[in-house]
Symmetry: C2
Subunit: 247 residues, 2 copies
DNA sequence: GTAGTTGATGTGGTTGGACCACATGCCCTA
DNA sequence: TAGGGCATGTGGTCCAACCACATCAACTAC
């Protein structure tokens, strides 16, 4: 007696109605992370809508990183509630970068802002620093492929961001990273002397971690900013000044 | 000759294939903001997939703020490419707040971080300051409803964020605002003396704008941080203190 | 001749039904 | 008892039809 009235009076599209129902279940705590949505056919019958509309709503939630859909039977099957804000923000940013309405330079600038804040905020005893330290050791290996080094580098910086203890900043950092991942990889391939660059990056990483451990947040922030900006400058972020004008 | 092979070998879901195609068109510049996607039936035939899958892809893009779908004929009809990153980030954040995996305190903290950075970065001649100034005048009206005041307040703060000239920061600020809009409204209704609060907010707004106009970014950042945190503290949210971003 | 009406056309929105691939688990057989 | 095979239930995909809507052109009435 609920759905059809709203649909009629508010001209709400059907899948949005399903979306509202699910969001309401989430807000009310009747659906929590790890829980499962009713089966698509069941939900369609409950809400008096077609399975198609239910599926459209679930697609959106999946793109938002709120649910994961799995076929078959068992614990991996069905539509279960997860929480992956990074996925949502990341693909959204990536798409808008594709439309060329989000300049890459702005993304880099935002990353510098967030990450320098994070290392300034992180306390010297943050548990995430252990992981960061372990990652640095792994990056010191001699016979490391470039792609592996970069993968570890990503995880190192994300660990630093996590150390600030702010879930929103962590998610945004991850999404910024993801949205320009292809761009960064392309830049790296154009470096003149990768070994020299890698060596410098390792040293800078150590300095950053040391500053945090020394409880010198201001210094850590400065080092991080110089680290990131220096990399993009060396790799030839020529677009810094030539990006199309903002609308 | 393309779609079915990828679908077979990569086990890619059909709507993701459509998504890839569209994203590719965007990256290649063959689809730009203001342009129109082929009609759903046409696109389905072109990509050799069902209209259902095309629609699921379009739903995702719509939720991401990349397209807008309109029925009928004429300029408002069809699926046209837009660019509204704020919508995507906003609903994503709101949904994850609903799952209670993104603490409101973290959102407020992030907002303080971004906005204090923005006012520090904004130059005294940024054109957005004119709009901010006009908004302040409107907020000085005597017989202003609380909801109208709050709406103007939102626009004032967004104008400040825009003044920094970073599209990513602007989008994130807008989405943060949207994700906790209901929460903030609830807090406001519990204030003991609204008139006194509004009066204080007006004065603080003037001080912030004056600091930016005076090219004193550091002072503006401090004022903004105190302004936001003071409001949430008065309204009863116990949030951790946050230092303004470095200049 | 002009003004209003009416139908054709093309768009997204929605529905029901059908079939597929897959993963589990029960049940029956050897 | 150990093994294979079918029943069940899940999401994934496709199809064919219909609706509501907005525009535009042709037609009709004056």
């Amino acid at each position: 007696m609920w759905s059809n009235h709203i649909n009629y009076y508010l001209r709400m599209r059907t899948h949005q109605l399903v979306l509202s129902w699910i969001e309401n279940e989430l807000s009310g705590g009747r659906l929590t992370v790890g829980g499962r949505l009713p089966a698509e056919r069941t939900l369609a019958e409950q809400l008096k809508v077609s399975r198609t509309s239910v599926r459209e709503a679930i697609r959106i939630l999946e793109a938002m990183g709120v649910v994961r859909a799995g076929v078959g039977s068992g614990p991996e099957a069905g539509t279960v509630v997860i929480s992956d804000p990074t996925a949502a923000l990341g693909s959204a940013l990536r798409l808008h970068v594709a439309t060329q309405h989000l300049p890459v330079a702005d993304i880099v600038e935002t990353r510098v802002l967030l990450e320098s804040w994070a290392v300034a905020k992180a306390g010297p005893d943050a548990p995430e620093l252990e992981e960061a330290s372990a990652l640095l050791e792994a990056m010191a290996a001699e016979d490391l492929a470039v792609s592996d080094f970069l993968a570890l580098d990503v995880r190192f910086h994300l660990a630093l961001a996590d150390a600030a203890g702010n879930a929103v900043v962590s998610a945004m950092m991850g999404s910024l990273r993801e949205s320009i991942q292809g761009y960064a990889a392309e830049l790296t391939s154009g470096l003149p002397d990768w070994e020299a660059t890698a060596s410098r990056l390792r040293a800078e990483h150590q300095d950053i971690l040391a500053a945090i451990r020394n409880d010198d947040g201001g210094q850590a922030a400065r080092l991080v900013a110089a680290h990131i900006e220096g990399y993009y400058k060396e790799a030839g972020l020529a677009s810094a000044g030539t990006e199309p004008a903002r609308p």
